[in-house]
């Protein structure tokens, strides 16, 4: 009877896929919601280029690791790491660093602020 076994496993799989949400430390920097930012970073798969702590399968090596980003003084080695600049950078990196390989991302301004809050919480 392999069918019933498979059926029994399916709800477990559905849970694994849709609904996991490891907790994240609430950010004190920035105005955004770090938790929403984390969800956005996961669903856009920034992890295809970056290794990002706390996000499953985020182990890309095209760009730098985002671990400890909240402690850094500069973004991309050139821009001040304040919440406004970080939000602008994740939304449209080429407008700030013309030679960068990081494309503009499909983020609304509000989403970018949340993403910046999430990144600032990585200490």
């Amino acid at each position: 009877m392999r069918l019933p076994t498979a059926f029994a496993l399916l709800p477990a799989l559905a849970l694994l896929w849709g609904c996991d949400k490891p907790p994240v430390a609430r950010a004190d920097a920035g105005r955004g919601d770090a938790e929403d930012g984390r969800t956005t970073v996961a669903s856009l798969a920034c992890g295809a280029c970056h290794s990002i702590p706390g996000i499953r399968a985020a182990d890309g090596t095209v760009g730098p690791s985002l671990a400890g980003l909240g402690n850094r003084n500069f973004i991309a080695g050139t821009l001040p790491n304040d919440p406004g600049t970080l939000a602008a950078f994740v939304r449209n990196a080429p407008s700030l660093v013309p030679g960068t390989a990081m494309p503009a991302m499909p983020l609304s301004e509000a989403q970018a602020i949340d993403v910046a809050a999430f990144l600032a919480s990585l200490r």
Binding site: P4, A14, A45, A48, G99, T100, A101, M102
Partner: protein, 328 residues
């Protein structure tokens, strides 16, 4: 290094909240519904048989002498050991035959045929014209009109794969040298995930696709547009991206209809920007992930039949990604 990406979680969250997009327990059409009913019947039947066996085993251990004799009598052995299984399995067989006929009748109703070819590790998709010739080719995503059964001709270019959209119908193998068929029916609009269900090599886990069930009007509009040539590059960056695409030799493997790119080794990219995912369900689709894929395909999906283009400079890589995203 094989990496299972966060896409299913990401897409599920983004598109469907916590509703499952790949579940045989949530059928979105009567074909999958019939298979689901069979699953339920078998689960209930198996549970009853299991309970019966446990109860009898328990009685046999704690029996009185008289009861032991009753359980071990030739009449009981024949009734429970031969007659019961014969009746149950015959009923199940009959159910299976009837179900099979019903699904076959759905196939006769299908007006649209789609040919899907499994390749390591992606899906070549051709919508067929009424005369059976390919009307146009696309990849890694299928669309179907709600309420109309769609017939799938399934083939393989290399090893055995298996085609399964749990919410829309049964599972069937893609076998080299053979054409198998299956009919899917969506009765609920939505986005469903399909997955290769037969181990086909190292990147088998990253061989998925999306099935989008749309109203017949939306489907008709898509069908007309999808058969057309690629959108011309418009912005300066798109024009530069198209130039870089040509210069990098992408056209040796990929076709972009309406341009010189006519390769057939990899997925057709004529309307790649309109897909939900890239690289067979591996990543969500936008300029960022397109850039990641072009420069780092071998890290994202090691062994895939596309090299990493890791010698492009930043602006060139971005322009290719922006050009691809514009191919809607």
């Amino acid at each position: 290094m094989t990496r299972v990406r966060g896409l299913p979680a990401g897409l599920a969250l983004a598109l469907a909240g916590c509703t499952p997009i790949q579940s045989a327990l949530d059928p979105a059409g009567s074909n999958a519904g019939m298979v689901f009913d069979l699953g339920v019947a078998m689960t209930i039947g198996a549970t009853l048989v299991c309970v019966l066996v446990v109860v009898l085993a328990w009685r046999a251990v704690r029996r009185s002498r008289a009861e032991g004799a009753w359980l071990a009598s030739p009449r009981m052995v024949i009734a429970l050991g031969a007659v019961l299984p014969a009746v149950v399995l015959t009923a199940l067989l009959a159910y299976g035959f009837v179900l099979d006929r019903q699904l076959a009748a759905e196939e006769d109703r299908a007006a649209l045929t789609v040919r899907v070819t499994g390749e390591q590790w992606w899906w070549r998709v051709a919508y067929l014209a009424p005369d059976g010739s390919p009307a146009f080719e696309t990849a890694n995503e299928i669309r179907l009109p709600v309420g109309q059964p769609v017939r799938f001709e399934l083939e393989s270019a290399d090893v055995i794969h298996s085609f399964w959209v749990p919410a829309l119908g049964g599972k069937i193998d893609l076998i080299p040298g053979r054409t198998n068929t299956v009919t899917l029916l969506a009765e609920r609009e939505g986005i469903y995930r399909g997955q290769c269900a037969e181990f086909c090599g190292t990147q088998h886990a990253l061989m998925a696709f999306m099935a989008r069930a749309e109203t017949p009007e939306d489907f008709g509009a898509w069908f007309a547009a999808e058969g057309g040539d690629a959108r011309q590059p418009e912005t300066e960056e798109e024009v530069a991206g198209h130039g870089a695409f040509v210069a990098a030799g992408c056209g040796a493997c990929h076709a972009v209809r309406g341009t010189a790119a006519a390769g057939t080794i990899g997925p057709d990219l004529t309307h790649v920007g309109s897909r939900l995912t890239i690289a067979a369900g591996t990543l969500p689709n936008h300029a960022g992930t397109l850039a990641a894929w072009v420069t780092d395909a071998q890290a994202i999906k090691p062994g895939a039949r596309m090299p990493s283009f890791d010698e492009l400079d930043g602006p060139t890589l971005r322009s290719i990604a922006v050009y691809l995203a514009s191919l809607r």
